[in-house]
Amino acid sequence: MNATSNDQRAAILAAIRRGLGRGALPADQSMMLQARIAAHPRQIIPARVALDHAGLIDLFVANATREFATIDHIQDRTALPEAIATYLRAQNLPMELTIAPHPTLEHIDWSANTLLTTRFGRAAASDMVSVQAGFAGIAETGTLMLPSGAGTPTTLNLLPDTEIVVLDTNDIVGPYEDAFDRLRQAGAMPRNVMLVTGPSRSADIERTLELGAHGPRRLHIVLVGADDQRSE
């Protein structure tokens, strides 16, 4: 029989403490470590994100584009169905969408564009195009933060060939830390938080980069926000 997990836990902790030359931490030291976790201090934040908001939007766009994401920009959400239909037509992709059941996407009048077929929910294996609600865009590396939740199923980020993420320009931040602060403000840590930088890829075959390994081979980001926010 194997020792139970509890015995093993005790044995491992004892070995670690023997190595550290001490017993269990005294209460005052444990409290200091607990306080550090509670404060979760930031360390070095790269200077590249020290920009005004318009600058951050530009940095986000530049970095995401370099990682092979494509970007569209619309003034408000009423224009979303038309923008998506235009993108799909240009890429010669099917007009069938699986959409995140998120309030910001459910409230859109999708029937305004008669070419699109829509379904709300998690992704099925055969789905070709998904529409996901973006939580934050991280300008530092052009990265999307996509937390799971009832309105934002994770499978939408993984199964379809093409993922379209809708993101308010107001939700573009500088460093990762700012995005996680927003997540903490929104409530408890979600089950799954994906930080996504461009479409899926692999360089396993002779070190040649090929897009579309197991996840989406296209990542299209639709930014929503008034034009005057951009510096361009």
């Binding site: 194997n2 070995a15 670690i16 550290l20 976790i37 360390q43 979600p190 396993d204």
Partner: protein, 473 residues
């Protein structure tokens, strides 16, 4: 598991004569160094971040007991379970227990070196549970029944023709006359074949790049998305992680992530950095119903407080091997361990025993390149030297080497004699090699000169020259 480290010398001979391997190594050499250098140049804070990263890991190891317990209670509070495992066998049984309880027939797997370390695939297969590797590199290695040769590019020793051959042999349900015009056709076939496996699997097994004590979170960093499919689609997610993967907070993790991808592939950030915290929540439309962390010790707790403690800082980026002249000459398989290159030469003896792996720390030119690129500044050459000393003390080093060092020791303890002998040797070798400036072969050193030229001395010893320059001042 699989460990041919004792056969290191024989493995090296094989590797040097393997034309396919040498082709793969040639292809990788320059890009490895160049891509990291470009990424580092793009982040002025990189050097300062290395120091930060080192500090975070040191702080964590100094309080490892606290952070492991904090991590465990966070996982439990979110409805997950942590299985503490002292040995590889304990970890295998923990995984098996979960698989059997839920009646699993197949398990998809993300790339995990811990899985390799504990020999999980063979074990599960013996117990009637089919393991399916889903990382492209790991998938082809499973088809070929080979071990990984690199911790992040496990199949980088293979060439395109190997991929085509293996896929034709394995995917017999597809037309035999299909054409792989491009590398992307090979990738597309793997995507299609593995899609079905992802959907059918009962259990998904991934590794972890980090565990966060603050939130009870496991993190995987990938480019393909296979790890995410593995941990999202099946009913049960099992995380395999060794205990030094724990980090205090999200912010600490972010600092480590800033140096990880840049050091590994030269990317600013990997495509998918995913934080998993417990099982599916009420209202969630997808995600696993069970979340388990199998926390493996396997010799690591004994490294705490030893001269190998700093090795526990390692974040498995592979920069050390990507820049190592030895690794780039012999490849990963020669080391006989899933951990190869400089980090493997230090870690393998600690995990599998010095008697198994004492030759690995000798496979170093001590050029120090590994240390200069390590994102957490591990003193790798110093630790390799520690292992050499231990091997010598324990009489593990080869007889010829010990004999030679014995002779050298005899002279070294008699300085006058030492100087006289080296003066004569240096003068005569200098004279003999004056024309070419080097020797193609030397008596008693045939094995050494077979693959190398010995530079001829210039006729004067260091001591003689030092004395002369002192006088002329």
């Amino acid at each position: 598991m699989l460990n041919t480290s004792p056969d290191f010398k024989e493995n090296v001979r094989h590797a040097m004569a393997d034309a396919g391997l040498q082709k793969a190594l040639d292809r990788a050499k320059k890009p490895f160094a160049l891509s990291r250098a470009n990424a580092v140049a793009g982040l002025p804070e990189f050097e300062a971040l290395r120091e930060t990263a080192k500090g975070i890991k040191n702080h964590t190891i100094a309080h490892l007991d606290y952070y492991l317990e904090a991590f465990t209670s966070q996982v439990e509070s979110k409805g997950g379970q942590v299985h503490w495992c002292r040995t590889a066998e304990d970890a295998r049984n923990a995984v098996l227990g979960i698989c059997q309880r839920v009646g699993a027939r197949t398990a998809t797997k993300g790339k995990s070196m811990i899985s390799e370390e504990i020999g999980l695939n063979d074990f599960l297969a013996e117990q009637g549970i089919e393991p399916i590797e889903t990382d492209l590199g790991e998938y082809i290695l499973q088809l070929r029944n080979e071990a990984p040769s690199h911790i992040i590019g496990p199949a980088f020793h293979l060439n395109r023709e190997d991929w085509e051959e293996s896929f034709r042999a394995a995917h017999t349900h597809l037309p035999a006359d299909r054409v792989f015009a491009e590398k992307r056709d090979i990738q597309a076939e793997a995507r299609a074949v593995l899609r079905e496996k992802f959907l059918a699997a009962d259990v998904g097994i991934t590794g972890a790049n980090f565990l966060i004590a603050e939130t009870g979170t496991s993190i995987i960093v990938t480019n393909e998305g296979n790890g995410d499919l593995t941990q999202t689609l099946p009913r049960v997610h099992i995380v395999l992680a060794s205990l030094e993967k724990v980090v205090p907070t999200i912010e600490d993790t972010l600092s480590l992530l800033r140096v990880l991808a840049r050091s590994a592939t030269g990317q600013e950030f990997s495509v998918y950095t995913t934080f998993s915290t417990g099982p599916k929540r009420p209202g969630d439309l997808d995600g696993p119903e069970e979340y388990h962390v199998v926390l493996l010790d396997n010799g690591r707790s004994n490294m705490v407080g030893s001269e190998f403690q700093d090795m526990l800082r390692c974040i498995r980026c592979s920069a050390c091997m990507n820049h190592c002249p030895v690794y780039l000459t012999v490849g990963g398989h020669a080391y006989g361990s899933m951990y190869s290159g400089p980090m493997g030469s230090v870690l393998t003896p600690a995990i599998f025993g010095a008697d198994q792996a004492h030759l690995l720390p000798s496979a170093s030119t001590f050029c120090g390149k590994c240390e200069s690129v390590c994102p957490v500044k591990i003193p790798l050459t110093g630790m390799m030297r520690h292992w050499r000393e231990r091997a010598f003390e324990r009489n593990l080093s080869p007889a010829t080497g010990r004999y030679g060092i014995g002779i050298w020791g005899f002279f070294a303890r008699r300085p006058a004699l030492y100087r006289a002998v080296t003066r004569i040797a240096s003068w005569s070798l200098g004279l003999a090699g004056r024309k070419r400036g080097s020797f193609r072969s030397l008596p008693l050193a045939g094995a050494w000169t077979k693959d190398r030229d010995m530079p001829a001395p210039e006729g004067e010893t260091f001591f003689a020259r030092y004395a002369r320059e002192q006088r002329s001042r």
